[in-house]
Amino acid sequence: MNFEAKDVCAGYADVDIVRDVSFTLRSGEVLCLLGPNGVGKTTLFKSLLGFLPLHGGNISLDGKPLCFSDYKRQAALIGYVPQVHEPPFPFQVLDVVVMGSIVRMNYFSGPSHGEYSKAEEILEMLGVSYLSNKVYTEISGGERQMVLIARALMQEPKFLMMDEPTSNLDFGNQMRVLQQVQMLAEQGMGIIMTSHFPDHAFLCCNKAAVMCKDTSFKVGSVQDIVTEDVLHKAYGIRVKIAYVDTSEENSDMVRTCVPIMHKINLSRKEIV
């Protein structure tokens, strides 16, 4: 399937925060959305999900425009993984996951036994089946992120929108989440995720997009987009991209970005 955003303009009230964003994403591709704080990543995300009305442009799936007013159909196509948060009530993990089955329910019923076993299967697939009887408010941030991914997968969506899936997670948990992203993409899911780490684009994404303060939006393959120049322009720091040999694994050379610390003061003067 093809997710396509064309000339999307979005923002709050009368102010455009995001302007002329266009990109396409096929099933099985992962797009990493990068950009400094306050540049409108979240705004773009919310408009792609239909939380904010578009000011212009359109969003379509396989050429058919998305209908945001039909919530169930929309939810069956696009799953949303929010940033990890704490709900006010101590729900059981399995009850949280099974909420993803709302797309297949009518309003007057609760989830069936079948949906509960499906929820357990999904937790198992994500390698966190031990969580199912735990209380959502008592598990760690990394575990909560897995639960939120599981809940989105319950919707059986074609595309997944992940809002900073690695924020507030420790190093190990970040990689565990990215591993799942990679796995889901291999199974044919199209994924759009935001991140604060360009490395994440190298690790598990095919496509990258960078938003800058001047509302410019660049999208393309990771190699083309995550470059030293682009990162410098976006974040205002100097970055070197290095190649690391991880020969003990069967993967080839892994790229990584290294910020250049001692030059920050100088470059800051240049910018000002």
């Binding site: 709050y12 009230a13 919310k46 999900l49 239909g50 939380f51 919530y71 169930k72 929309q74 939810a75 069956a76 696009i78 799953g79 949303y80 929010p82 704490e86 709900p87 006010p88 009530f89 101590p90 729900f91 059981q92 399995l94 009850d95 909420m99 993803g100 709302i102 797309v103 309003y107 007057f108 019923s109 609760g110 989830p111 509960y116 199912s132 009887n133 209380v135 408010t137 008592e138 809940r151 919707q155």
Partner: protein, 343 residues
Amino acid sequence: MLLVHEKRGAIKVIFFSFIILLLLFFISLFIGRYTITVNDIYNVFYSKLFNTECLVSNMVQSVILKVRIPRIFAAILIGGALSSAGATYQGLFKNPMVSPDILGASAGAGFGAAIAILISLPFIFIQIFAFIFGILGVGIAYLICKIVSRGKDALLILILAGMIVSTLFSSLITLSKYIADPYSKLPEITYWLMGGLSAVSGSDVLLLIIPFMCGIIPLFLLRWQINAMAFGDEEAKAMGLNTGKLRAIFIVSATLLTASSVAVSGMIGWIGLVIPHLSRMLVGPNYKYLMPASFLIGGSFLLIVDNLARTLFTMEIPLGILTSIIGAPFFVYLLIKRKRGWV
């Protein structure tokens, strides 16, 4: 396996709450100034059921049928209604500290009753005015929210609007007390506001039933969806819920319950806050179980408190005072006992 176990636990709690409520119902028939025997009750029910001549005196009959039974039903319905409404609002506003009067239903109803008393309308109009103004209060809060928020931060603005409306109506209540005749009207308004079921008649209960049913049926049918609503507007939308429509339905239903309860009983605080907490401790936060548990436990709680109100002293204590006096330390106890998060 633990999951199955926990669910069985929840169902067990609901079942026992129901049994306790039934027991309380029968025990309450005997409680009161006028002594009634088991035989009397048997005879009255038997004669009513099979339409035979009643063997007990008219006095006993009317105590049972016209005084105690309406009062017991009113206590159960109002306790259940306030608790269910409280549980709903708590989920909807993602906040366990919310009570059913958050959107101004109680203050509005209080003002409506005060007006009706001020202009010397018959008793039934006090209830009708209270009901209408209760709905009006929430309606104004909702309208303010629609005008101010334009879809953004709707929940927060709705709570603020509810606070504005509550404050406004509270001041208007004070104003009506101030201008009321201090020998006749002022005590009447004051007593009404304290809350109580001493004046409840059979026709009141029948009148209460209609808005009560209109409120409780949608809440029970749609209760599972509140789980997802408790995760916030955007997430619920992304899960496929039409949150705007659902929220409107929940608010209208919970408001019908609150306004009709306040119209019959006056202001009874604390139940809508404390009982959902207690229920959550017993059955967990899943609304599938929380809603029935809140209703049953709320009904039992108000029935017990009402029994205390009419027997504790020779003079009847206003119900609103007693629920607060019992509710406040009980809530502290719950807070001490809570194990996980905001139960």
